[in-house]
Symmetry: C2
């Protein structure tokens, strides 16, 4: 008989595809609307009555979206699902199900697979997302997780990027810039290292490692029809502003002093010789919601604030005619800096 | 001004993520039930009235599922979608939509991306599948396409792996073993090479490069309630038999002489010193449907045959009590050989 620790240290090549699938399927409980769960050619679910299906997919690649050297397995699993739930949140959708496509190097230890599943399932359970299917295959290169998330939304509650109109106000949830500083801290050896073990950096690292998708805020914005346009900040605030403006055919002015930069971010960037606001605008991975709202409908936004708990919602700018993207600062107006783009 | 040929030869790094997405989105037409198509945080579609959602995902990795050295870009795109449509077919589902997650090496030429899209879209158009969304990211390793396919099926028409009962007959669509021989031929330099340019090898190569998912057969089996269990042969006939038997808790006897081995397959394997039937049983990539049917309901199967066109449907075995998997040959019974498994 093999001791449990020895089993833990076996690689995915050693245990094989079928055993891996059985290992994952064994820990999944299915809600009653899942007609066929994992283990068949495809999953079958009942759509929610009277609602639309919302579908999104995002790949999570080692060396691009995370680095296994300092992102623990549970955080890899958490992030792979969180980025997709964040996309659903930005549409005002209620998440329901997910598919997980795992592309694994043969020498990966099964303990790492278990850890990724732990992180993914903990977040899924918290948001009542059923992992209804997926696929495991071998990678001749990096570890990759591709998650498809499925949600539902009522027809008149869909949030899109294209509804912003001149005069609308621009809002953002939570705080900005923390994830990138958390990432830099992790790259430099973690909060026990260059940051001296104070609580701030550990919190920012957590922002990077285990971002909290703003599901509830998105649902409330949709249900109250409080937003005219919405996007999640996967690629940074500057990119989000740019995307809403382009999709809506409008300009946007952002007030630099109003941006809710996370605690510790200004200090970090100043200490490293960066322009703090520029860095906060360009950095991705925050997974907050950026949205626009009509000033005449502020009562709807008030209803959202009342039910969203501690999450700050901050006015940071205004939608304008034309197509200019402007950052208003104490020393005058300037062009909004660019956001993050893959292959650039 | 840059000449069109120079543009064609630019890499994905040179044109960037946003231009790539625009390039892909520009060629997509959306049916009326797509509420939000590509370009927002997620896609939104109307579920089909009275039907269930069917969901599947499969990764397609260079060096594992195909080899760019001898699989042209359009075939890569075709295969990435075909394997998923085949999964929907095995559930008796009508395909409706797909999401495409592209993980691209930075030095990939945009002409290769266009070619993959050509192949994927040609198959999608033929089956009226809308490409409603996706994601493009950078690969530090191999080219990868991860396709999620969404279909619909009426509640009582779902085909599963688990419904086979002792006494049922075992059937397979089309012919078996062709794709693997086509792959070997391509690996050896293509039909102009070792195969001497005759038509047979070119057809088998086509079976590997552009498999035809058996959508219509799956739909007819579901609508006529003609099958008690069904699976697609992505990992070979032996694996399919094993999966149905395991899910249904039955044994299966396959009659070797009844297996519809594709033309040229026996000759190829004999010429290379392989056991032809063993090789045909173990080889994957055929994407035919394997299903079981109750002898007392043969009328239903007749209705399927009448509407499925030229596609052969061949009886190859019978479901038994117990759990034994047997290959009945002229020289006696033997254990069914194993199928393909990742990481093995």
């Amino acid at each position: 008989m093999i001791a449990p620790t020895a089993l833990q240290n076996r690689t995915v090549s050693e245990i094989g595809e079928h055993a891996l699938i059985a290992r994952i399927s064994g820990r999944l409980a299915m809600p009653p609307w899942v007609v066929v769960g994992p283990g068949d050619d495809a999953a079958v679910i009942e759509p929610e009555r009277g609602a639309l299906d919302v579908l999104t997919v995002d790949a999570h690649v080692d060396g691009v979206h995370f680095d296994r050297r300092f992102v623990p397995p549970d955080a890899i699993g958490h992030r792979a699902l969180a980025v997709n739930l964040s996309d659903l949140a930005a549409m005002g959708a209620q998440p329901r199900a997910a598919l997980l496509s795992l592309v694994l190097p043969g020498d990966l230890e099964t303990a790492a697979v278990d850890g990724m599943l732990d992180g993914l399932m903990a977040l899924a359970t918290r948001h009542r997302v059923a992992l209804v299917g997926g696929n495991i295959t071998q990678s001749p290169g990096p570890l990759m997780l591709d998650v498809t998330a499925i949600g539902s939304v009522r027809p008149r509650r869909v949030l899109m990027r294209s509804g912003a109109r001149p005069g609308d106000e621009v809002y953002v949830t939570g705080t900005i810039g923390g994830a990138v500083v958390g990432l830099r801290s992790l790259q430099a050896g973690g909060s026990k290292g260059s940051f001296g073990g104070s609580e701030g950096p550990a919190l920012l690292e957590e922002r990077y490692l285990r971002p909290e998708p703003r599901i509830r805020a998105g649902l409330l914005l949709g249900r109250n029809r409080a937003a005219t346009a919405c996007i999640d900040l996967s690629d940074g605030l500057a990119d989000g502003v740019r995307q809403i403006a382009a999709a809506s055919g409008v300009g946007i002015v952002i007030d630099e002093s109003a941006i809710p930069v996370a605690d510790g971010v200004r200090e970090y960037h100043s200490g490293h010789g960066h322009d703090p606001v520029c860095a906060a605008l360009a950095g991705g991975d925050d997974y907050e919601l950026l949205f626009t709202a009509r000033p005449s409908l502020r009562g709807r936004l008030r209803a959202v604030r009342q039910h969203v708990g501690d999450l700050p919602i901050t006015k940071i700018g205004v939608v304008t005619n034309g197509s200019q993207l402007v950052l208003r600062t104490a020393s005058g107006d300037r062009d909004l800096p660019a956001g993050f783009e893959h292959f650039r």
